[in-house]
């Protein structure tokens, strides 16, 4: 008996010792042939990964002493990065968009940027720097962005005999057009919006109407539930109630692609798909509320460095490469270029499907999203999501005024 007990104890101890071997094995960050290892994580989808790998290979070929490995996380990017950060095993370089959540694990890049000189920084659209910084420091170099714009289906407009939208349209214009289209075209809806929009994106409507989720001090009261905010929610809800707009379960792209809706607001992500599908579409600025030019939310992706990277210099070399003009040009189609020089050389502003996005970029320059101001944004975001549902879900359709007041209380 004693013997058995002893055996068990020894086994338990061994097991714990294996784990307790606390000091994490020092990984010197070098490959077997002495090159410096840099891990690069991206969120691009399957079909783009091959192209990315080719680019990474190019970098490796040009740099004898650095070897970059590409880690394509796809849709699970957040999970992987969280797991990596939580266990102190971050990639050296990674795409980044959610700075408030991850800034603690990122390396501030201001000093690196300065070393590159004025021109480097200036070539990027100014507004983008705000979106890639947090708490005063820059944590990411912009590599792409999108604003939102109004997409419309030219064929449906023709069918209904309605004049196409212009950059000066207001929401009243949209409503009128949508009504006519729904009446005249069987089975089609004039406008669609998301039933559960990303709270981050939705704030742009509040901005367009002169309000926001929070003020500079981060207070919800008087902002999220201001009359202007309630107006915005009410407008969309009425569109749905009057049945000339549909609240879509997903982004609305599928409904637009298949020709079931005539208009929707979205980022530039769907442009390639729409072109492939052969949809005859046009793009204009987001409609205004009549009081001020409309504003769009900016979704900017940047490329960041891990605070704990062992090869920061090499990582920076790679970051520079990935944010160069050449790379920016290659990514057109996946994202909108962020460099003035590239936009000019490629004549982006002359392309009618891209120009409105840049106009919106100019119009949206002084706004800071609540996610950068409000402390526990992820919880607020979840609560806002629920509020959206309560207002836009056909089974709920609650009074926006009440819902917003409640949301502020929480």
């Amino acid at each position: 008996m004693k013997k058995k007990l002893a055996t068990m104890l020894i086994l338990a101890l061994t097991g714990t010792m294996v784990l307790g071997a606390c000091g994490s094995k020092e990984d010197d960050g070098k490959t077997s042939d002495g090159k410096v290892k840099v891990r690069f994580a991206s969120w691009d989808e399957a079909e783009d990964v091959d192209a990315q790998q080719a680019t990474v290979d190019k970098f490796n070929a040009e740099h004898d002493d650095i070897e970059v490995t590409l880690e394509a996380y796809g849709g699970e990017f957040d999970t992987k990065i969280s797991a990596g950060m939580g266990s102190n095993d971050m990639p050296d370089v990674m795409y980044m968009w959610n700075y408030p959540a991850y800034a603690q694990g990122l390396e501030p890049l201001d000093s690196y940027i300065e070393k590159e000189g004025e021109d480097y920084k200036k070539n990027f659209y100014d507004t983008l720097w705000n979106y890639n910084s947090y708490d005063g420091s820059t944590y990411g170099i912009p590599i792409g962005f999108t604003t939102h714009a109004l997409f419309y289906n030219k064929d449906i407009f023709k069918e209904a005999g309605v004049a196409e939208p212009t950059n000066d349209w207001t929401w009243d214009d949209v409503k009128a057009a949508a009504k006519t289209i729904t009446e005249k075209c069987d089975g089609k809806k004039g406008f669609s919006f998301q039933m559960k929009p990303d709270p981050y994106d939705y704030e742009m409507y509040l901005w367009s109407n002169g309000t926001a989720y929070v003020n500079d001090a981060g207070e919800l009261e008087g902002n999220l539930n201001s009359d202007k905010a309630k107006e915005v929610f009410k407008m969309f809800q009425e569109m749905e109630k009057d049945e000339y707009a549909v609240a879509t379960e997903k982004s609305g792209t599928d409904e637009f692609r298949s020709g079931n809706t005539a208009m929707y607001v979205y980022g530039s992500w769907s442009i390639n798909t729409l072109k492939e599908d052969g949809v005859n579409f046009g793009v204009v600025n987001i409609p205004s509320f009549g009081t001020q030019p409309s504003v769009s939310i900016l979704s900017s992706s940047g490329i960041s460095m891990s605070k704990d990277s062992k090869n920061k210099e090499a990582a920076w070399e790679f970051i520079k490469f990935w944010t160069s003009e050449e790379m920016n040009k290659e990514r057109i189609g996946m994202e909108l270029p962020v460099l003035y020089s590239v936009v000019e050389s490629e004549g982006i502003m002359d392309q009618p499907e891209y120009a409105p996005f840049y106009t919106m970029l100019e119009q949206s320059s002084d706004y800071t999203p609540a996610s950068f101001i409000y402390e526990s944004w992820s919880e607020l975001s979840e609560s806002l999501s629920l509020s959206f549902e309560r207002v836009f879900n056909p089974s709920a359709m609650e009074d926006p005024a009440e819902v917003l007041d409640e949301a502020v209380q929480q």
Binding site: S24, K25, E45, L70, A72, G74, T273
Partner: protein, 273 residues
């Protein structure tokens, strides 16, 4: 057992209805894989594609290094299945046919390991595997299977407990030791459940994508399931390639299932005598 005509008809009707429920999503998926992406999301939905685009499958396969993924999947699946079958049968036998001190407590501990939600032990496990240097290898996916998994141990233990005592008694009288009894008597009896566990494990590992997602980093180590999940991007999902690969991935497990069915059914009539 002779069956009346009426019962037969009833049974066929029931089978048919259930088959409808199970098959229709699958058939819908099968047909949609041949469509263009526009057709796939069209409304009203049409069952048949305008043209049968066989090249969808080729394109999907070439979209990512699925050949490599296939190899990795095979390695992991075979590696874990062999490991599970061996280790789980040993452990289940220990729990089912012996009485020893602490048996019940240990068994409760075993069961409770099934109840731990994975996403929370994931990060500590990740750290542990990092310490071992196993991250970005297939090791974290294969090696733990050689130490048994509560689910299969439990399953086999239940089967084992249903075998009458006389079997062991006879063998013991003949002077066999425990291991011989395990090997010569119980293993044959257990064959159907060994195969069952093999099939169940094979299929769940083949489709597992959480494990590979967390522990693997570069594409050369990915398994099929992870490659499949990669078609789901942050904004849009590439439906057609996803369906094509899903269908391709179903083929090996189905084949194995059909083959294994025979053995699961073999029954114990022979060995009892």
């Amino acid at each position: 057992m002779k069956m009346s005509k009426v019962s037969k008809v009833i049974i066929y009707i029931l089978l048919g209805l259930m088959a409808l429920y199970f098959l229709s999503p699958f058939i819908y998926m099968l047909f949609t894989a041949f469509k263009t992406e526009a057709e796939a999301i069209a409304y009203p939905p049409k069952l048949f594609p305008a043209k049968w685009l066989w090249q969808n499958f080729k394109e999907a396969w070439n979209a990512q290094p699925f050949g490599t993924f296939l190899w990795n999947s095979i390695l992991v699946t075979v590696g874990t299945t062999v490991g599970q079958v061996i280790s789980c049968s040993l452990v289940a036998y220990g729990f089912a046919r012996f009485n020893f001190k602490g048996k019940n407590i240990l068994f409760m501990i075993l069961l409770s390991t099934m109840m731990i939600p994975w996403d929370v032990t994931m990060i500590p496990q990740y750290m542990e595997f990092k310490m071992f240097g196993w991250i970005n290898t297939l090791k974290p996916l294969i090696i733990p299977a050689w130490f048994g998994s509560a689910y299969y141990i439990f399953l086999m233990r239940q089967f084992l407990m249903g075998v009458p005592r006389d079997f062991e008694e006879a063998a013991r009288i003949d002077g066999a030791n425990a291991f011989q009894i395990y090997w010569k008597i119980f293993m044959p009896i257990l064959k159907p459940s060994l195969i069952l566990v093999g099939v169940l494990n094979m299929i769940s590992v083949w489709n597992d994508y959480l494990g590979p997602l967390i522990f693997l980093q570069d594409r050369s180590k990915y398994t099929l399931a992870l490659g499949l999940a990669a078609f789901k991007g942050v904004h849009e999902t590439q439906i057609i390639p996803m369906l094509c690969i899903t269908i391709i991935m179903i083929i090996p497990p189905i084949i194995i299932f059909i083959i294994a069915q025979k053995y699961i059914v073999e029954g114990t009539s022979g060995s009892i005598k």
